[in-house]
């Protein structure tokens, strides 16, 4: 709560973003204290990692001071107080913190907790609910991420004139020859980060993990590579059309696993017919869709970062051409 209040007061956007990263990390530790390990993992990776990174990249293009507002926000304060009061009044009827007789523990959850082992055979109940019982919601979520990636591409992608590409490559490569320690340490660490991402991906059945966290960690490794070794080198390693193909193929994989069960007269995303034994079919289905989710999330995060960074190159190039008239 202290970090949230500090965010309200600060005017320098760089500190605001750092504080929001700390806020994400603190809420991840809240989630661990409340026994939600999968959620804590995802919040730590996404909220404290990728979100801070994307905001920092956006700030390099939009400037990092906030102007003082001219009028006092009394009306806003009043609205906030009234809404807060009403909400607190509404929570008086809620069940106590941690009670096991609350209504949400009575209806659907006992069925998941009791029957998950027989029907699906996966120890991590969150994964089994996410990937099998509620697989349709997860499909929608993957499509949402894909759409966000497409949206960012539509907003921020630039097509360079061939003359300018060589100049930009030169600029990018010259900046990164001097960072010797960072380059060596990254070269040692990036394989381990990728290995950890794969571990989290395939181990999501038995412990906290799964497709989303693995995709985010994988993307973080690639972004680290791009930041240390230069954007042009990273673009040569990760071809742009290949990444777009990967993103769409992740969603396609997910959809086709669902459609395959149409061919045997069963429901969409019914895994029981994927193999002779229903439990093995469930395992196979969960593995495939988590793979699809991981591939899509990783490629979309990389696409978003490269779009932001490419836009920054574009605007820096414009500034150099017009003589630096834009102040930032």
């Amino acid at each position: 709560m202290g970090t949230a209040l500090a965010i309200v007061w600060m005017k320098d956007l760089l500190s605001v973003i750092m504080l929001s990263g700390i806020y994400g990390l603190l809420s991840a530790s809240f989630f661990v204290a409340m026994d939600a390990v999968d959620v804590a993992f995802t919040e730590a990776a996404v909220g404290a990692g990728i979100s801070t990174l994307l905001m920092l990249v956006a700030i390099t293009m939009t400037g990092h001071k906030e102007h003082h507002s001219r009028h006092k926000p009394f009306l806003a304060l009043a609205v906030v107080m009234v809404t807060g009061g009403l909400l607190i009044y509404g929570t008086f009827d809620m069940p106590s913190y941690g009670s096991s007789m609350a209504p949400i523990h009575m209806q659907v959850a006992p069925r998941y907790l009791n029957d998950s082992m027989q029907e699906i055979g996966v120890p991590n109940i969150v994964t089994s609910v996410l990937a099998s019982y509620r697989a349709f919601d997860t499909f929608g979520e993957v499509v949402v991420i894909f759409t966000a990636g497409i949206g960012v591409l539509a907003l921020l992608s630039v097509v360079f004139h061939p003359k300018e590409i060589a100049k930009i490559h030169l600029f990018n490569d010259s900046m990164h020859e001097k960072e010797l320690i960072l380059r060596i340490v990254s070269k040692i660490l990036i394989p381990f980060i990728l290995l950890f991402a794969l571990y989290v991906q395939f181990h999501g059945d038995y412990g906290p993990g799964g497709g989303f966290q693995a995709g985010v960690i994988f993307a973080a490794a690639i972004i680290l590579y791009a930041m240390v070794f230069g954007l042009s080198t990273a673009r040569r390693v990760i071809n742009k059309s290949f990444i777009k193909f990967l993103a769409s193929s992740g969603v396609l994989l997910y959809g086709s696993v669902g459609v395959v069960s149409f061919f045997s007269d069963k429901n969409f995303l019914d895994y029981n017919i994927l193999s002779a034994d229903p439990i093995a079919g469930q395992h196979l289905g969960i593995l495939l869709i988590e793979l699809g989710v991981g591939i899509t999330v990783a490629s979309i995060m990389v696409i978003i970062f490269f779009s932001f960074a490419g836009r920054r190159e574009f605007s820096k190039n414009q500034d150099n051409k017009t003589g630096g008239s834009k102040a930032s």
Binding site: K178, E179, I181, L189, F192
Partner: protein
């Protein structure tokens, strides 16, 4: 044996927490960017090491100890590199230390490779 393990692990955890707190005090009280960075960089790495060793002594199960050793190795790699990256970025943006006697508008040449 059990008693000895408990005592040593609590000792390590206490030392680690004390180092963390002293690093935090260092950030607030030191006058200059570079001394603050030094305070936090050194104490933070050692504090994490102590806390991890304390956790290792708490639970001598082989798999858990192996995972904690891996985390320790990663931290020993990453934390000093992060401090180095911060200090390097500061120098390249011409933030001089407080006691530096040179002119403040002399650009730092890339003499270090």
């Amino acid at each position: 044996m059990d008693f000895l393990l408990n005592i040593s692990s609590s000792l390590c955890l206490l030392i680690g927490s004390f180092l963390c707190i002293s690093g935090g005090v260092g950030i607030l009280r030191f006058p200059d960017f570079y001394s603050r960075m030094h305070a936090v960089g050194v104490t933070e790495t050692l504090a994490t090491t102590m806390i991890l060793i304390g956790l290792m002594l708490q639970n001598p199960d082989a798999l858990v100890v192996l995972k904690l050793i891996l985390i320790l190795l990663l931290t020993l790699f990453i934390s000093p590199t992060a401090s180095h990256a911060l200090a390097k970025a500061a120098i390249q943006n011409n933030l001089r230390p407080k006691l530096d006697k040179r002119e403040s508008n002399e650009k730092v040449t890339s003499s270090n490779r």
